[in-house]
Symmetry: C2
Subunit: 223 residues, 2 copies
Amino acid sequence: MSQREWRPIVTVDAVLLTTDSETLRVLLHRRGSAPFEGAWALPGGYVRPEEDGSTADAVSRVLLQKAGLSGVYLEQLRTYSGPDRDPRDWSVSVSYLGLVPRDRLPEALEDGVALFGVDDLPPLPFDHTDQVRDAVARLRGKGAYSSLPAAFLGDSFTLPELQAAYEVSLGEALDQSSFRRKITALNMIEETGETTQCGSKRPAKLYRLTEPARTFNRTLGAS
Amino acid sequence: MSQREWRPIVTVDAVLLTTDSETLRVLLHRRGSAPFEGAWALPGGYVRPEEDGSTADAVSRVLLQKAGLSGVYLEQLRTYSGPDRDPRDWSVSVSYLGLVPRDRLPEALEDGVALFGVDDLPPLPFDHTDQVRDAVARLRGKGAYSSLPAAFLGDSFTLPELQAAYEVSLGEALDQSSFRRKITALNMIEETGETTQCGSKRPAKLYRLTEPARTFNRTLGAS
DNA sequence: AGAATAGTGTCTCTGAGACACTATGTT
DNA sequence: AACATAGTGTCTCAGAGACACTATTCT
């Protein structure tokens, strides 16, 4: 039971999701080095013990380096492992689910970075296709009983925007009246006092979350 | 972005829960080697790339070696990491939640292996106290909308037994009538055709799960 | 005025909790 | 017969879906 010489590779990957309020999209980048150089893949990289305080730190660092992002909502998804998932060696990859508002990403993404619809992915290396599938499943499942989908929005948002975020997350349309009843009953949001006064039509009240992220008991939508 | 020389330690840990139909109990063992030799801790150990096909394989191997168990229900909980959680080196530990019927464990546990109530733990090394807390939280949460608690029972069981498993898992009493309505409405179980004919009192029908493990939509209990 | 979007009122139905009741075995 | 455990019937109430309605801005 002594320490083994042969330690696995340890990496992190990020399934960073965003939405155009129609479809779920995932951020991919073109790999700049072997293995799979030039292929589209999830942003990821080695855990660096000398500079990372945790795998969460590692994934934040990777997102900053590869997509120029910081302050993104991140939660650990699960860990993938095995002798064959990475051609270099037996490896472990800790996967994170990230949610980010579309407008937090640059309008024109850098070269080698792009958004793909989660149902319209190119072939991905490693087990990245599984990771995207699992991330979407987590969002679909947890979205129904938490404020997770609000992470697709900025600090303040209208109720129609919040509903759209839930609809994309859950993959189904929600009734407007039921949605508002539910959200207000949960005390999940509070008015900022301001309203939209954008282009046209009736202005909407702006809200913010009362707590950064929450889980509740009863469901919201779900078949 | 080249491969680093310094790779973290990779281990697995198992939070193996069982129940005496009153309280949740977790299996601990006395560590036989450094660090923390002699302390009570979760069963765990190094991932061995030369023999394990995945971290799931590693945790199965560890449970077999340290507690003589096989065929246990296991699901990945989450991964813990950092420079300080293990005094030997920067480390990653993939934690698994296991559920096992009490009678699958030997009546008298081996020396150095014992069950502790999850609310009555000795001080544990590493982040094992966190792992137990997170495992119990997972069971409490997921128990309400899945057949997870049935993993505390054998292949066939009575409805009162199933209800007790749910009550221990959720940490609250459930109404008998509502419980049965719910379970039957979900088509989660089917009659085996047999009944208990044990010591005394009215015999109960025996059931088995229609599917090994399931998740459903509506809740069951939960405040 | 009409279009478009924001927001509300109300009916119905399902499902969960409470709890009293019946059923079937043992001693 | 008494008791203990297994299992059922029924009332009520809260919450979700459906959907028609009102409100406020713009052109």
